[in-house]
Symmetry: C2
Subunit: 155 residues, 2 copies
């Protein structure tokens, strides 16, 4: 049995992020896997595409995975550090491991998750960071809306 | 101008909880209001009805309220203390006030929210507690699935 390569899992989430970007949406993707690396569900942020503020990438992947009796042995892979909303999802449902593409452009609740027993892996993937940097530069108002923050005033 | 009566706001969430119960779903309802008491969106837990584990009552109300630039002056009213997932939603989107029907049958993240500057009002409403107690007695497996926990063994 081959060991799971986190970069391979991240590639599924990155494909979702790229699809989101191509649709004009926020370039954030996620996927939920079994501990053995089988895909349970994947998704991308759907704020722009569906006008739905409740569908962050992680919640979308979780939704698409459907009902399960528990999530102990699952891995949530996301291109961006999970915000408090998505960190709360991970904690409530007992997802055991979160693999994060990058936490450079935004740092959410992953340290809080680590303090509460969730395994955290940050890959610091350059493509994930580039996707976010480009999007925030082009559409700051959409990014700040997505995290419930005010767009900073520019000079 | 009349002061807002929290019991009136809760009645909107309770109606959602009763509708959910009538559909065979979890009897938990929520509604998002402006600070002035205008309804922005309401919803109920949709796990059973839609097979959707991502739609807790609060996320459903938030979704139905649609996109907004910010949530500072909004009130989230829920029949039950918000779980970590829904508490994360409140914190991330800066919802200023959470009004809770009851926290007797389940206590989620509302104390954490209070520590982080969210106003919390617990009404300790008997009907909310009765709805939950009856449901958990009749369908323990659905309740524990909804909070990502194992159903305790019975004797």
């Amino acid at each position: 049995m081959n060991p799971i390569r986190y970069a391979d899992l991240l590639s599924v989430a990155k494909e979702q992020a790229r699809l989101g970007a191509a649709e004009g949406g926020l370039p954030i993707g996620a996927a939920l896997f079994t501990a053995g690396g089988d895909l349970l569900g994947r998704g991308r942020n759907r704020r722009v595409q569906d006008g739905d503020p409740s569908m962050h990438a992680e919640t979308s992947a979780f939704r698409n995975a459907g009902r399960r009796p528990h999530y102990r042995d699952t891995i949530m892979v996301t291109t961006l550090s999970p915000c408090w909303y998505c960190s709360g999802l991970v904690r409530q449902f007992g997802i055991g491991h979160v693999v994060i593409g990058e936490a450079r452009t935004f740092s959410g609740g992953h340290e809080w998750l680590a303090e509460n027993g969730v395994a955290i892996t940050v890959l610091d993937d350059p493509e994930c960071a580039e996707l976010m940097e480009g999007f925030v530069r082009a559409h700051p108002e959409l990014w700040f809306e997505d995290i419930g923050a005010e767009t900073p005033a520019t000079e």
